[in-house]
């Protein structure tokens, strides 16, 4: 997508909410378009690859599927732009450009974007995201992902949102005002951590089997659980070129449960930040968002652990992939025009 240039005539405004995730990125637009893409960008390795693929850059699943012919980049780490190579920055630019393109803005239409970032992002990280996005939109704001998810659901008071992503688990307490730094937490023991843990355990159990981290990630997305397993989890993994059935039940449970203690500890700590009179209400209002909320039994495991201190209810958002992007869109729609204009880059 071409970078935005100010055009003399603007027909209307398109408001978009963007969730730039370590694993998946999503966009929700005021024209009804909702799209997500795996956060991968790939460039053909050479002239031949480019000719075969017919594209100069590939995104998401398509990039993953053709990774052997590509210089593949997963540019976000723990929800922020990786530092170290200009290639990562270039990849984020490509990713943002692609997402905005997916929103199908009309020619000359002004784009106002709200972008979600991890809860405890430093100002430097926010500025880096801002730099990556601002070329493709007219005005933009950056908010924390769990706050965006909370806003999208209209859960603005006496609630905790836990956004379990690939790179981070973000916590945010809502008490009727915009959450401050102290109202938010970010853990880096998230989905990628589970993948790494599971990969290590499976390598130890099945040293002769041939699998990679990407395969392990797929196993997790299909079979993740905490608590009691509902039957055996068996997957096919090649051993010496022949696919064999492997039992990964126990390892899957242990890997998924490895993030639980930190999640519980932070949830309890954040509940304790509320006025004691309202803590009971907050316990009934814990929202799980993000791809990690799809881990089977996670909501019940949190409820069970927190019930020791009183009744508790954990609710999964309906659409975890779009929860933050939808929330960011809701913010973008509600934000007065004056605010957007004041943030326009001169």
């Amino acid at each position: 997508m071409a970078k935005k240039k100010s055009s003399p005539k603007r027909s209307s405004k398109l408001r978009v909410g963007i969730d730039l995730g370590t694993s998946r990125s999503a966009i929700s637009a005021s024209n009804g378009k909702r799209k997500f893409v795996e956060s991968y960008v790939g460039w053909p390795k050479d002239f031949i690859s480019e000719k075969v693929l017919g594209k100069s850059v590939l995104y998401g699943q398509e990039a993953l599927d053709n990774r052997l012919s590509l210089e593949l980049c997963r540019p976000l780490e723990h929800g922020v732009i990786k530092e170290g190579t200009s290639r990562d920055e270039e990849a984020v630019n490509e990713l943002v450009s692609h997402l905005v393109e997916l929103s199908e803005a009309q020619e000359g239409q002004e784009i106002y974007a709200v972008v979600g970032v991890p809860a405890e992002s430093l100002r430097a990280n926010k500025l880096a995201i801002k730099r990556a996005v601002e070329d493709y939109v007219d005005s933009l704001m950056i908010v924390s992902e769990p706050f965006a998810a909370a806003y999208g659901r209209g859960v603005l008071n006496n609630a905790i949102v836990i956004d379990l992503g690939a790179g981070t688990v973000d916590f945010c307490i809502m008490h009727g005002s915009m959450p401050t730094d102290d109202d938010q937490r970010t853990l880096v023991t998230a989905g990628d951590y589970i993948d790494g843990h599971l990969f290590a355990m499976l390598k130890e159990k099945y040293p002769e089997s041939d699998f990679n981290l990407n395969m392990v990630r797929k196993f997790k997305e299909e079979h993740s659980y905490v608590g009691k397993a509902k039957g055996k989890i068996e997957v096919g993994i090649p051993v010496g070129g022949k696919v064999m059935v492997h039992d990964i039940t126990e390892e899957m449970g242990r890997a998924c449960e490895s993030i639980l203690p930190a999640v519980l500890e932070n949830t309890m700590e954040l509940i304790a930040r509320f006025d004691p009179e309202y803590q009971g209400i907050v316990r009934q209002n814990i929202i799980l968002a993000g791809g990690g909320s799809q881990i089977k039994g996670l909501d019940k495991a949190i409820e069970s652990a927190l019930k020791e201190d009183g009744p508790c209810k954990v609710t999964n958002v309906d659409d975890p992939i779009f929860a933050s992007a939808d929330g960011a869109l809701a913010l973008a729609k509600d934000m007065p025009d004056d605010y957007w204009k004041n943030l326009l880059d001169e």
Partner: protein, 405 residues
Amino acid sequence: MFKQASKRQILKDVYEDNLWVAGKQTSRSSIAPPKPSSGKIKRYLPYLVAVGAVVVTTVVTAWHGPVKQVPEHEVAVVYTEQGMGDTTIPSAEHNEGGEPSLDAPLSFVAPAEDDKVVLVSRPSVPSKEVLADLEAFELHQRKVTPENYQSLTAVDMPLAELFGLSVKTIVIDPGHGGKDPGAVGKSVYEKDIALEVAKNLRDRLLAHENYRVLMTRETDVTMSLNNRVNFANENGADLFISIHVNNFPTDQRSFIETYYFGPTDDSTIAELAARENADSHYPYAEFKDIIQKIGDTLKFQESKQLAYAVQRNLYQQMRKIDGRTSDHGIKSAPFVVLLGLDAPSILTEVSCLCNQDEEQRLKTSEYREDIASFLEKGIVTYLNKNTRVGGMSNGEKEKLAKAQQ
């Protein structure tokens, strides 16, 4: 239904926060000011507030005799931009606010005739004398009065010990890496030496089985300074040790030195700090935010003690290998990698590539293992000192008992 007025306020707060991010507003306006992000800071905060009270009381007393009990409304405390350094006799320049400066001294105005206390600069890093008084602060006497403040000076006890804090997570930071080689010898790079020494040190500390030991980088990758800081803070570092190797082409001696965060008047150190800070990736406004952490007295004290223990052990052992090794001691310097950390932190220059013999030794794995063992010894010395059973030696307990009589 959530009130529309509150929703409007939320939208306004989001907008103002974004103005701040974009650098179009200097503060976050109606949003509560950012508090220290680390849980550790939050834990220490009540104590540091109390310690701040002792600083005011003690320094004013030293200046002007015991403070008279005055009605609360008559005590005015005025803060300007933060500064740090030694307590000095006030001067016109010091009393004026202005841009934050690393070497702006902490200054106090002498009590006025009506005994009002006017503090014109935040007591960030107190002088040596004030620190001695701070170390003597007794936890159970949080309410400091003119009557009891003198008893606080009787006990020589570090704050970490006083508050029963212990070290669980140690983060080791091999300096430079990737596209940044650091100091360059004839055939060896600082980044490679630092990495191997760091790995050896990690293995040695893990063998104690008491600590969680992490490294900011385990391979030859480029890593910005703020990412190193973030990594340590996010992982709840209780100690942070950054490993470097010096190179001053104009000086053929091999010398070792250890830094902890603080101001410097030394232009050579300032140049070194500027070089090490070059890749900090901190925008100015964020740099200003983190400078406020300088006021963390506990971190300052502990960093200094850690620096002392490491430097002493390192020098003693290195001198045995090469008698020409020079001890440049412990120094305070404004390294970004030390500034942004919540935990006690040091940057140690374990050797020097300017000496040819030393460079030959540094190329060997055995010597890198030796250096790691010297660092280990220094760190363990510091840790053992801070984990004395009961927090106080018998002598200290006796001194405290006497003071309280």
